[in-house]
């Protein structure tokens, strides 16, 4: 028997999968007709630096976020020390700061003319700090901005372990401390790897931070190829290489996903009893957590606010109404679109829960791994092509010249946003929908509630929290998104994020602070969701 609408789920899912595959295909097709001279040029003058830079950045950030994220997760999940409850959720707050904001604040603070070096010079005669604009500097800032990804997943893994297994280890003669390395850590590994691969995807996708640091990576090179060299082929070829790295990460993440089931298979005995740290250990734990919180959140936020305070009277003018309006418009429109598509995909998967459908859903949500710069190129090329077709057709039939139709409109941007952030919306919706079991549907059905009535009386009320969470997450992600906005926005169409970029590229930290503060404050919104719905409060 064919369920009604049996065709619908597949159409929707395949359509969405195509949406995310188009930019990849477009970019990769540039490799089919490689331009030899261009390739030689890239290979000789550009790629060596990019590869070396990317390698060190990924290695440094990977190591840093793993150590910091796992360590802090273990402290707050399994130990007891003064301030633990506070740090449990406070350590998530840096998620509200886009990495490029943390970056320019730290540069502003530590640059030669910055507050701290000036003070050190004048009062202590310390002539020079190690330069912040260096490979070490980028890595440090990125670690501070991205460690929460690992912290979040590792903490959930540690907390899911329960105390039975640790007790079992103890009854076999293994102490709590050694059990960390033999039980807790190996079991949390899938969670840690999942967080790590997300952090690394963000690292590879990052454009704003590395631009502030003048640290050349693939994303900055794609941007330059586009805007300085006006070479779409060069941009495409660079993007293809970047996609190769990203695909390796996606595979890593999938592997961790597949082995994750065991982390929850034996979690009896309630939460593990915490190891109570005493004396010096407790002091060290509190200091470590406090230091990270200070460096990653308090100092950047305080500096932002103080710069804003200094500048707000002179710099806040009518243009800001435009920036804010553009940001809100894009974020609201984009988030609504993302959540609607996510809901469609989640329902398609629910109606046809086959392996093929799951695979299609995976493809459709692959966009979170694709750097914004790649998506911008991947969507711009076909849209420009379509425009040319239409323009030529129009010219041929009427003899009149017209400008571009889709290119330079919000359409390209919104397409790219939807592709990149569909996974952000899909995650909460899928989880929420899974909580509505088949038997609930059937219970509603035997009580005479079906179809739309069931959607409104059963599903939507139960999905309210996940839908809100999905909207909030997508909203903030779009608002702080930089490369897509920068590369595909209509001419002169500035948002808060592009304003930050513009000011930071001129080294005007104080004037960049004003729009940055707005982004960060809005960014705190979904963190509250995260804290509320994760177990970070305990």
């Amino acid at each position: 028997m064919r369920a009604p609408g049996g065709f619908g789920p597949w159409t929707a899912a395949i359509g969405l999968a195509l949406l995310s595959l188009i930019p990849v295909a477009v970019v990769a097709s540039a490799m089919l007709h490689p331009d030899q001279t261009l390739w030689d040029h890239l290979w000789r003058h550009v790629l060596p630096e990019l590869l070396v830079n990317t390698f060190w950045l990924a290695l440094g950030v990977g190591l840093g976020v793993t150590l910091l994220g796992t360590g802090l997760a273990w402290l707050t999940a399994a130990c007891e020390f003064p301030g633990r409850k506070f740090f449990s959720w406070a350590l998530l707050l840096p998620l509200a700061l886009p990495a490029y904001v943390t970056a320019f604040v730290w540069i502003g603070l530590l640059d030669f003319t910055g507050a701290l070096p000036t003070w050190l010079r004048e009062n202590w005669g310390i002539a020079q700090l190690p330069p912040i604009r260096s490979r070490g500097g980028v890595i440090l800032v990125m670690v501070l901005a991205l460690y929460p990804y690992v912290y979040l997943t590792a903490r959930a893994a540690f907390q899911g372990q329960g105390r039975r297994l640790l007790e079992a280890a103890q009854s076999l003669g293994v102490s709590r401390r050694r059990a960390f390395f033999r039980i807790a850590l190996p079991m949390a590994r899938p969670g840690i790897v999942a967080g790590l691969s997300l952090a690394l995807m963000e690292t590879l996708a990052d454009f704003g931070t590395v631009s502030v640091f003048n640290y050349n990576t693939f994303t900055t090179a794609i941007y330059q190829a586009w805007f300085s060299m006006f070479s779409l082929p060069a941009a495409s070829q660079l993007a293809t290489l970047l996609i190769c790295f990203v695909l390796a990460l996606v595979m890593l993440e999938q592997l961790s996903r597949n082995s994750r089931n065991y982390a929850t298979s034996a979690r009896g005995g309630g939460g593990a009893r915490r190891i109570v740290l005493g004396g010096a250990n407790a002091l060290m734990a509190t200091t470590a957590a406090g230091l990270v919180f200070l460096l990653a959140f308090v100092i950047p936020m305080a500096q932002l606010l103080s710069w804003t305070y200094a500048i707000v009277a002179t710099d806040l003018d009518i243009r800001y109404l435009d920036f804010a309006w553009h940001s809100l418009l894009l974020a609201a429109f984009g988030a609504t679109l993302v959540v609607a598509l996510a809901l469609t995909l989640a329902y398609a998967q629910r109606q046809r829960p086959t392996p093929a459908m799951q695979f299609t859903a995976r493809l459709a949500t692959i966009g979170y791994a694709l750097p914004g710069a790649v998506l911008a190129v991947g969507f711009y090329i076909p849209v420009a092509g379509l425009d040319n077709l239409l323009i030529n057709a129009w010219h041929d039939s009427t003899g009149q010249e017209i400008g571009q139709i889709f290119g330079g409109t919000l359409a390209v941007m919104l397409l790219a946003y939807c592709t990149r952030f569909l996974a952000v919306g899909f995650g909460p919706v899928e989880t929420g929908l899974a909580r509505i079991t088949r038997s609930m549907d059937e219970a509603a059905q035997v009580l005479g509630t079906t179809g739309l009535k069931r959607l409104f009386r059963v599903h939507l009320p139960m999905l309210r929290a996940p839908l809100l969470a999905a909207t909030a997450l997508a909203f903030v992600d779009i608002m702080k998104e930089l490369p897509i906005t920068l590369m595909t926005r209509p001419f002169g169409w500035d948002t808060l994020a592009t304003r930050v970029f513009e000011m930071t590229s001129e080294g005007e930290w104080e004037r960049a602070a004003l729009p940055a503060v707005a982004i960060c404050l809005v960014g705190l919104l979904p963190i509250f969701f995260l804290v509320k719905h994760s177990d970070a409060r305990t």
Partner: protein, 353 residues
Amino acid sequence: MLALDHVAQSYGSKPVLSDVSFVLSPGQIGCLLGPSGCGKTTALRLIAGFEKLSAGEIRIGAEIVSYPSHSLAPEQRRVGLVFQDYALFPHLNVEQNVAFGLSALPAIDRRMRVAEMLDLVGLGHEAAAYPHQLSGGQQQRVALARALAPRPRLLLLDEPFSNLDVELREKLSLEVRDILKQEAITALLVTHDQHEAFAMADVIGVMNRGVIQQWDTPYNLYHQPANRFVADFVGQGVLLPGNVLNSRQVEIALGVLEGKVDGECSEEGGCVKCEKGCQVDVLVRPDDIIHDDASLLMAEVERKAFRGADFLYTLKLPGGGRVLAQVDSHHNHAIGERIGIRLGIDHVVAFRK
């Protein structure tokens, strides 16, 4: 081998265990039996070292492992523990799970011991499997092998069979008992299921509200319960009001019971001698009621439960009151029918009112 001496524990002001004392001799299998919340699991966790006691002491072998101001760390007690949910390490395969507590051994001895343990539980062929690939019964046996591998002085089992279906439960409990006996292991299990307790244990402590009500053999628990709680919790039966005629006779609705009134009569909180005229409750088990068509005493069938080998009838007595009767399964009587019964009690258990 294991001795608990006036052990008490409380959470805040709420006592969880009070004055728990018992001894297990080497090779003996003991059991703490009781309803949930009776304190049996707390007792087990105290012995394992996961909880601290507030009074008394616990000895394993000659070593005092717990007293109020001291508690030897669980990992130093050399006590094996089989968890209710098995708590197998999901990231390790069967072999690695069993080898987990053997890291002090040289590699070759470790391999031999693991092989030996897997043979013992009959899982030699599953050494490379991961826990989630095994059935419940197999997981349970891996848990046992893992706990036994480091040669613990004492094995603790927490509701070891409660996650298995009934048939497997019976089969496995006998199997585990054979293994423990074969290896001469001192063990203590905790359960709320009397069948499990009867199948496994040499000696059983029935617990309620943190107190051991009776520490005895399964046979005695059934036939000579020390108080109403034990009589009610272990086995089936009803209490019928009785009137003591003299030290050898009690009169109940079904007639006069002859035979020794054991201990004259027992009473919760100590035995008080019961003289003529004393009012008591007499325990009547289903197997004390014998169906006899020739009997003049008739009772009405009120409910019946077919159990395969026999029926369990609930019978309404002429003077009110009900008894349970275990009757051969070919005596199929309809509800409402009146059938002849007689008493077959050779040992009177009576509790003073």
